[in-house]
């Protein structure tokens, strides 16, 4: 049996956590090998070790049968190992060519020689059907193309072993399919691929074998064709998983929020949200589906007041709130679980109790005549911590920066729900969380719905949208493509709509 890469008994510790504990992964030549595991299982860490960004505390790496020490990414490159990171590592104001050659620049006597490189990139792009313009600037190309640039980066360096860390998170189902084809092309050319994901369907569709890790330990390696998805899921989380969200029939009430032909700009003159109209009613969860960056942020920001509405109007409980400041909207009962918990959700240097009043600090009982009431703050925080199972070192006085992502998220959700809002906007509420937390949060959202609140759920995860929502609105390129009932649709239809194809219209 010929292995191109073998990682044997790898251990990696970070302060306070064992990210990899005796993990073994063997990659055969010419296979697509999936690496499956929950959030925080240690997948990225393992791959970063293979790519030379971390050094293992223990264990052996063999490349083509020879034991090697990969002390930095350059060594990895020389060994023919390339990696596409979970978060793209592209310099946005450089061209495609500049990004690709970075670190291995062709030069003559100190002078950059990019024209040859551009030509070669063009050729590679054609060869593998990547369709990338070597002269374009990164900031002007789509996310999908950026990913192909990352792949080209590896090909340019003649990598034989390609590592892709969660490559599908930012793609539409169709783009994911295209990626699958590209990967098959690569295999055909003799490359070997490791792909990280926690989406079982994709593994089924793309991979030959799959190694599952849990809490830093190898659970096992299976042949994908012979293993069911539920078996893999069980290996991943260590128990049977219920993929279906339990919920009753929605009892839809009156309209809470109406958007009338709302247009929002992204940058100065680029339209982010184009002439969108929709309604959200009490007792329902309206899901917003779409690939990242297709107007979801603008939609949410227009409702919460963070973005200026260029035209159109927003009616909330019969009142025009189009130009109301953020604060007023919060006071009227619009709560918002933001997409980015570090940027928007928390003041990371504040403690839990301080964070829990960030929208109401100037209201009784948290302050009186401009002076904070610390005991009221404490009580409030303790309440949320209890109700939402927020775990942290020092309870209400823990600095939120020191908390794990899941617990930060639970604190935010607790804060927003405790405000007893009429409209709850949840943007990617489960991003980066493990299955347990996800189940919990979904339950909370449904609970809000059942209490007669209106819930607007924005997510990039199609499964989440399909499982949790009652109705689904799909956006593409700032346009509302259509609204469908969750029960009457399927992944295919939504996928097509996310790509901009409207229901009923034929391509």
């Amino acid at each position: 049996m010929e292995y191109v890469v073998e990682m044997l008994n790898i251990r990696k510790e970070f302060p306070g956590i064992v990210a990899n504990d005796n993990i073994t992964l063997q990659l055969k030549k010419g296979e697509i090998h999936a690496l499956l595991g929950e959030n925080g299982a240690g997948k990225s860490t393992l791959m970063s070790i293979l790519f030379g960004m971390y050094q293992p505390d223990r264990g052996v790496i063999k490349v083509n049968g020879i034991e090697t020490k990969i002390s930095n990414p350059n060594v990895a490159n020389k060994l023919g190992i390339g990696m596409v990171h979970q978060h793209f590592k592209l310099v946005s104001n450089f061209t495609v060519t500049e990004n690709i050659v970075l670190g291995a620049e062709p030069h003559q006597l100190y002078k950059l020689e990019l024209s040859e490189a551009s030509k070669k990139i063009q050729e590679l792009s054609n060869q593998y059907g990547l369709n990338v313009d070597p002269y374009a600037k990164i900031e002007n190309i789509s996310v999908g193309m950026q990913q192909r640039v990352e792949i080209l980066k590896m090909l340019y360096r003649a990598a034989d072993v390609l590592i892709l860390d969660e490559p599908t998170a930012v793609l539409t189902p169709q783009e994911i399919e295209d990626l699958g084809k590209i990967l098959k092309n690569l295999i055909a050319e003799g490359k070997s691929i490791i792909i990280i994901t926690h989406k079982l369907k994709e593994i089924k569709a793309m991979a030959d074998r799959c190694t599952v890790i849990r809490r830093g330990k190898t659970i096992g390696t299976v042949n994908v064709a012979e293993t069911s998805t539920s078996k893999m899921a069980e290996m991943m989380v260590g128990r049977e998983v219920n993929f279906q969200v339990e919920k009753e029939e929605a009892k839809v009430g009156e309209v809470v929020l109406t958007l009338n032909n709302v247009t929002v700009n992204k940058d100065k003159d680029v339209i982010g949200l184009n002439n969108v109209s929709l309604e959200v009613k009490r007792g329902e969860i309206l899901g917003i589906a779409g690939v990242d960056g297709n107007g979801q942020s603008e939609l949410v920001q227009s409702i919460t007041g963070l973005a200026k509405v260029e035209s159109g109007s927003i009616i909330y409980e019969g009142e025009d709130i189009t130009n109301l400041p953020v604060k007023k909207r919060i006071e009227k009962g619009i709560a918002h679980i933001p997409e980015d918990r570090h940027k928007h959700g928390l003041i990371l240097d504040y403690t839990v109790e301080e964070n829990m009043i960030v929208e109401v600090y100037d209201k009784a009982p948290y302050s009186k005549r401009g002076i904070l009431n610390f005991s009221a703050m404490r009580k409030h925080a303790e309440n949320i911590i209890k109700n939402f199972d927020v775990r942290s070192g020092q309870g209400p006085i823990s600095v939120t920066r020191s908390m794990s992502g899941g617990n930060q998220q639970k604190a935010i959700i607790g804060r927003e729900i405790e405000m007893d809002p009429t409209l709850l906007i949840a943007v990617q509420p489960t991003r980066g969380l493990d299955v347990g937390s996800i189940e919990y949060i979904h339950k909370r959202l449904v609970e809000q719905r059942d209490k007669g609140k209106a819930v607007l759920l924005v997510s990039l995860e199609l499964d989440e949208i399909l499982n949790v929502s009652d109705r689904i609105a799909v956006v593409n390129n700032g346009n509302l493509i259509g609204i469908v009932n969750a029960k009457e649709t399927d992944e295919n239809e939504i996928g097509l709509m996310m790509a901009g194809v409207n229901k009923g219209e034929d391509e």
């Binding site: 592209l90 310099v91 946005s92 990004n99 970075l102 670190g103 291995a104 950059l112 980066k153």
Partner: protein
């Protein structure tokens, strides 16, 4: 008015050059991702070292400029060494770069005067400066000749040459590409196999060398002596960097503007045509214009995206 411009142009240029080279050094530092507010201190180090070396060895080279050139080179080395304090604090220790730079300024100011007193017996070190020259032939060209080629110092041409080379390095060499990548997206650079910390060290060290050159240029041209300060030019250079939008030619334009505006303000008292303008307006003119320019450019700021952020390779 024209003859006035003609007359003051050489002096404006002389005044501009230290500012230019210092801002250019800061460009390398900031492009690599490190804010360097310690320019003032680095200039002082350069002025001090240059003056001290020249003062010590000048008598061994009568009638030649060798001593001055040696002084300039040693000053640049001293600038590099001193900038390592800032580099270490901000690159290895992830210290707040502005605070570290402020400390650099304070240390430089205190330590140089201390050393000057101890080593020469005086807080002032006087030397024989360069002699200015008219560039043969070129200075005879009408208009341009008077503006740019009369009363020039060799350091002026040196700095302009460095400007051209720097532009080339920044935009046309692998080094420049890497340096800029470190200031824009250090994690991308790291993933491409670039040693980000080392590149940032280079950036800060180049800044140290250039600032020190700036300080030494002051000594070997118009000042002729080290007095313990460079009178806020380091801060002006920082402003010029931003005013010039982190681009070599932008910096050239910005520093030249400063040089010209300051010179006009300085000589206004002697020029009847200008004496009618309240002097306070002339004096605050460069600063007010900078503020206005900062407002205008704020919308399209070209600041390196990662400048000022400590780089932590673990951070995702």
């Amino acid at each position: 008015m024209w003859s006035l411009i003609q007359q003051i142009a050489p002096y404006a240029i002389i005044f501009t050059i230290p500012l230019l080279i210092t801002a250019l050094g800061a460009l390398f530092s900031e492009r690599s991702g490190i804010v360097n507010i310690g320019l003032e201190g680095l200039m002082v180090i350069g002025a001090f070292t240059g003056a001290l070396v020249i003062y010590t060895i000048q008598s061994s080279f009568p009638g030649s400029t060798t001593a001055i050139w040696v002084g300039i080179v040693v000053a640049m080395i001293a600038g590099v060494l001193f900038s390592l304090l800032h580099a270490f604090a901000s690159i290895n220790l992830s210290a707040n770069q502005i605070i570290s730079g402020t400390a650099i300024n304070m240390i430089a100011g205190a330590i140089t005067v201390f050393l000057a007193r101890n080593m020469t017996g005086s807080g002032k070190i006087s030397i024989n400066a360069f002699k200015s020259t008219n560039v043969p032939y070129l200075s005879d060209i009408p208009i341009i000749g008077d503006l740019f080629f009369t009363r020039t110092y060799p350091t002026t041409w040196l700095v302009l040459a460095i400007l051209i080379i720097s532009t080339f390095i920044l935009y046309k060499t692998p080094f420049g590409l890497r340096l800029r990548a470190c200031g824009e997206h250090p994690h991308a650079a790291e993933a491409a196999g670039i040693n980000v910390k080392r590149m940032r060290y280079y950036g800060v060290m180049i800044s140290g060398a250039f600032s020190a050159l700036g300080g030494a240029v002051i000594v070997v041209t118009y000042a002729g002596e080290f007095t313990g300060t460079v009178a806020g030019l380091g801060f002006l250079a920082l402003a010029a960097l931003i005013f010039g939008q982190w681009k070599p030619l932008g910096i050239l334009a910005a520093t030249f503007f400063f040089g010209f505006a300051t010179t006009v303000a300085n000589v206004s008292q002697v020029v009847p045509a200008l004496a009618v303008i309240p002097p306070v307006l002339l004096k605050i003119f460069p600063y007010v214009v900078t503020l206005v320019a900062l407002i205008i450019f704020s919308k399209s700021s070209q600041a390196p995206k990662a400048v000022g952020e400590p780089f932590d390779s673990g951070k995702r």
